[in-house]
């Protein structure tokens, strides 16, 4: 595919994918192309279900109905949910890691406000009309080569003009000869933007009728991300983490969602070239964690602290990075939730600094309004 200077988006009921930030002309000649993939986990991902703490009797008691009966071991302190198989195999190769007891600074427990803030990076819901990733791309000079997504474009990557998208419509396009007539009319009326977009539609390699399984989407994403002139940013969405009931343990509803995440990572790993995967960072993003205590429906309620899962070759080493707040009642947030001791925005700012080769302070200032964030680049990523 010729450089389309566009991004793309794909979606299903469960999973959506957005691409953004194509490399600027000339970029490919200098240095390696690095990619940032963000997987938004909507509904509130339970960090303690994905990465439970080892040997905390209090925790086991509070979750006696939804404890995992089988786990994968990560470290002396933490286990891993068995659904996260790919994450574990990457862990064994030092290509995955996590930050625990972290979240965006939002404690209001509303999905809608929380999801708005996880994407905008701000503190007041709906106040910002752009996303932290969009603003980051903008200062990285990916403007104009970014993409507008309109089947609703996620707020996360708003802030770069000229966005673009891909979303399989499920029907075939009209015949090329018909499109040609329309293209001529656009030209005749000097409709540059329409004309340019129609050109992209006719030349790009993306199918309009493809399957919408999340692994297929991820595989498409992987191919595009592997191209030196392809996009540098891809965004997925996985729904369904809001497990108020039947959250279950090893095979419950939360396990299914974690599996969706793991399948995306697996597909990215298997379909990307080695060089591309080695230069990629895959991060999760969620609005909040979930309560420590199970509810009467064997689910969990909206909480606060969660975990951020990280994968890809730019991960520094296999580790669970945390400033562990503890799970005793007085250590919990409002007596019920895992506390957040690391502002998750520090992770995202550090990731953008690493992938976009930008000074951390600049991101802190221009993307996050100079708020008090830590530079974690050295600790978490290969710089």
């Amino acid at each position: 595919m010729k450089i389309t200077r566009r991004d793309f988006l794909k979606t299903t009921a469960l999973t959506s994918l957005y691409f953004a930030g194509f490399a600027a002309p000339g970029y490919t000649n200098s240095g390696t192309k690095k990619n940032l993939v963000v997987i938004m986990l909507r509904g509130g991902m339970d960090g303690l279900c994905a990465i439970p703490i080892k040997g905390d009797k209090n925790f086991e008691k509070l979750r006696n109905k939804i404890n995992l009966d089988r786990t994968l071991s990560l470290s002396s302190d933490f286990d891993l949910h068995p659904a996260l198989k790919t994450f574990k195999s990457l862990w064994d190769q030092n290509q995955s890691a996590a930050v625990h007891a972290t979240n965006i600074p939002y404690t209001g427990r509303s999905h809608f406000d929380g999801q708005n803030l996880m994407e905008s990076g701000g503190k007041i819901p709906y106040q910002e009309k752009t996303g932290w990733l969009g603003r980051g791309m903008k200062i990285a000079g990916l403007t104009g080569n970014g993409l507008a997504l309109a089947l609703p474009m996620p707020l996360l990557i708003r802030g770069v003009p000229m966005n673009n998208n891909y979303f399989p419509v499920g029907h075939k396009l009209p015949y090329p000869s018909t499109l040609k007539i329309i293209q001529e009319a656009y030209k005749q009326y000097d409709e540059k933007l329409l004309s340019e977009n129609l050109e992209i539609i006719q030349t790009r390699e993306l199918s309009n009728t493809t399957s919408d399984e999340s692994w297929v989407l991820a595989s498409n994403a992987a191919n595009e991300l592997s191209k030196t002139d392809g996009p540098r940013v891809a965004v997925f969405e996985v729904d369904g983490f809001d497990t108020h009931a039947a959250q279950g343990g090893t095979n419950g509803a939360h396990a299914d969602c974690l599996s969706d995440y793991d399948n995306i990572v697996r597909s990215l790993k298997s379909s990307m070239t080695k060089e591309a995967f080695d230069n990629t960072l895959i991060l999760t993003l969620t609005e909040f964690g979930r309560t420590i205590k199970q509810n009467s429906g064997n689910g969990t309620e909206h909480g606060y602290g969660s975990a951020v899962l990280m994968a890809g070759g730019l991960v520094k080493k296999a580790q669970v990075h945390a400033d562990w707040p503890g799970l005793k009642r007085k250590e919990l947030f409002e007596g019920r939730d895992l506390n957040s001791t690391i502002d998750a925005r520090s992770i995202y700012a550090s990731a953008m600094s690493t992938v976009f080769d930008l000074d951390f302070k600049r991101i802190q200032k221009d993307v996050f309004w100079g708020e008090n964030l830590q530079n974690l680049s050295d600790k978490l990523f290969k710089v």
């Binding site: 793309f8 988006l9 109905k65 209001g108 509303s110 406000d113 708005n116 007041i124 709906y126 106040q127 009309k129 507008a148 997504l149 309109a150 089947l151 609703p152 996620p154 707020l155 000229m162 966005n163 673009n164 998208n165 891909y166 979303f167 419509v169 029907h171 396009l173 009209p174 015949y175 018909t178 499109l179 007539i181 329309i182 009319a185 656009y186 005749q188 009326y189 409709e191 933007l193 329409l194 977009n197 129609l198 992209i200 539609i201 790009r204 309009n208 108020h244 009931a245 039947a246 279950g248 419950g252 509803a253 299914d256 509810n295 009467s296 429906g297 064997n298 689910g299 409002e334 007596g335």
Partner: protein, 477 residues
């Protein structure tokens, strides 16, 4: 000139006469609010809210407990509950009613303005609102206000159940209110705080806009005035009770918004809204949004001025504001063409293409509560979702954008191409001939010869349809 019929409405259908006086044709449609032209069943907001209640109550209080150990059974029974409460049907019915106003009513100009205001006071995708509430909110709160004052529309939208729910005002409690000092709150360790969402959007999106230069303190003060306006909560109805003023949540004392003082109590909301709608920035903002919707992405001062003047002179009487913008649209008709948003475009396709759209009242009325709606009965909701422009599912409280750039992307353009082609399957057999295209092109374009020449590059009607509905003059009007 004929693009005016698409600019302020949805074009001229094959069996309609082309009005000889387009301006008066448009102006005459906006004084009265006639009954909806939909001939099938229409359900009240209250009835639909009962379904909302039944869904959330039974999910939260019954199913989650009953099937706590079995995610498959939980999912199965939740799906049954969806159908018992009509969850997959109401949206499509509401969209049918909405589109029917644009296509088959005597006042398509009013229908287009209705859509504008529905998006101005947008209810974005949140909780179960799109399924049960946003359609009836637009019918019962927005539409009857189209011949009232802007002030009344703001007040009614602000105190509507859907908006209160949408912007979390029930969660907002004055820190010095009665409820704030109650024991149970202390025990829960959750201090009573205000939720600023609703107050901020009332300023930013619904009245004066950020250009008014209000501060965060103004937002907080307005939120204080709004404390107490909430859904009447009960164990049986949960959050679906009517909106009322709960004085226990109200922040006592005087408040100050944009330099003006307001007393404590229920009545201050109406007073502050009156002041906000009379703020010069509010008039400018409304004029700007209307021009952006109908005329151009970049309205000029000259365009806005007559609308601002009409607002001022009529004390915000909406028919006068509407008349002003329509006159401006008429005067600028040839100079400025507006790229039509996907839903507007599709309604024009349906009207001019004489499609069997929306599904008929007979089809929709055959739906039985408790059953899964048929493909046809669900088609309006699905189609708009796939077009990328579902009016009840904007992502943010600021609604769908009006700016063309937001709607020109490969993926959205693909949908125009694909749906223009697919629209042929909704066509009537009697229209499957060249005379039909000559008729509609004659009625809707000033240069029918040129357009027909373009269409005649293809022989099959399915191709003609694809060409016509993607012609630059059709996309912009």
């Amino acid at each position: 000139m004929k693009n005016f019929f698409r600019k302020v409405a949805f074009g001229i259908g094959p069996n309609e006469e082309v009005p000889s006086d387009p301006l008066n044709w448009a102006l005459s449609q906006i004084n009265e609010i006639p009954d909806l032209s939909w001939q099938g069943k229409i359900f009240s907001e209250k009835e639909l809210r009962k379904h909302y209640r039944n869904y959330v109550y039974n999910d939260r209080k019954v199913l989650r407990k009953k099937y706590k150990d079995d995610k498959t059974l939980y999912k199965t029974y939740k799906d049954l509950l969806r159908h018992e409460t009509g969850q997959k049907f109401w949206e499509s019915l509401e969209i049918s009613i909405r589109h029917n106003e644009g296509i088959n009513s005597q006042n398509p100009v009013l229908a287009k303005l209705w859509m504008f205001w529905g998006n101005f006071f947008a209810i974005s995708e949140k909780d179960m609102l799109a399924y049960y509430s946003t359609g009836p909110y637009q019918r019962e709160i927005i539409r009857p206000n189209l011949n009232q004052t802007f002030e009344k529309m703001v007040y009614d939208a602000t105190t509507s159940w859907a908006m209160i729910h949408h912007l979390d005002n029930s969660e907002s409690a004055g820190p010095k209110s009665v409820t704030a000092s109650q024991e149970w709150r202390r025990r829960k360790k959750r201090p009573a705080t205000i939720n600023e969402n609703h107050a901020r959007e009332l300023l930013e999106l619904h009245t004066v806009s950020p250009k008014a230069g209000y501060t965060q303190e103004d937002v907080i003060q307005l939120a204080y005035i709004m404390t107490g306006w909430q859904q009447r909560w009960s164990k049986q109805k949960l959050e679906t009770g009517n909106v009322w003023f709960n004085s226990e949540y109200h922040q006592p004392g005087k408040k100050n918004v944009l330099g003006k003082e307001y007393k404590s109590g229920k009545k201050s909301l109406a007073v502050v809204i009156k002041d906000l709608v009379n703020h010069p920035n509010c008039r400018d903002f409304v004029a700007d949004r209307l021009c952006k919707f109908l005329i151009t992405d970049e309205p000029t001062k000259q365009m806005k001025q007559p609308i601002i003047d009409a607002f001022k002179k009529s004390d915000g009487f909406l028919p006068e504001i509407h008349k002003a913008v329509i006159k401006v649209a008429f005067e600028n008709n040839n100079k400025f063409k507006k790229f039509q948003t996907p839903e507007n475009w599709f309604i024009q396709v349906a009207k001019i293409g004489d499609l069997q759209w929306p599904p008929s009242p007979k089809v929709m009325d055959s739906y039985e509560l408790g059953t899964k709606p048929s493909r046809k009965q669900r088609s309006p909701e699905r189609l708009l979702r796939n077009l990328g422009h579902h009016p009840y599912r904007a992502k943010q409280p600021n609604g769908w954008p009006d700016h063309s750039d937001e709607w020109i992307s490969p993926e959205l353009l693909i949908r125009r191409l694909v749906y223009a082609k697919l629209s042929h399957s909704f066509s009537k057999i009697e229209n499957n001939n060249n005379e039909y295209y000559e008729n509609i092109v004659q009625k809707n374009f000033d240069n029918p010869g040129k357009i027909m020449k373009y269409l005649n590059q293809k022989n099959r009607t399915i191709e003609k349809q694809t060409l016509l509905f993607n012609h630059p003059e059709f996309l912009k009007s």
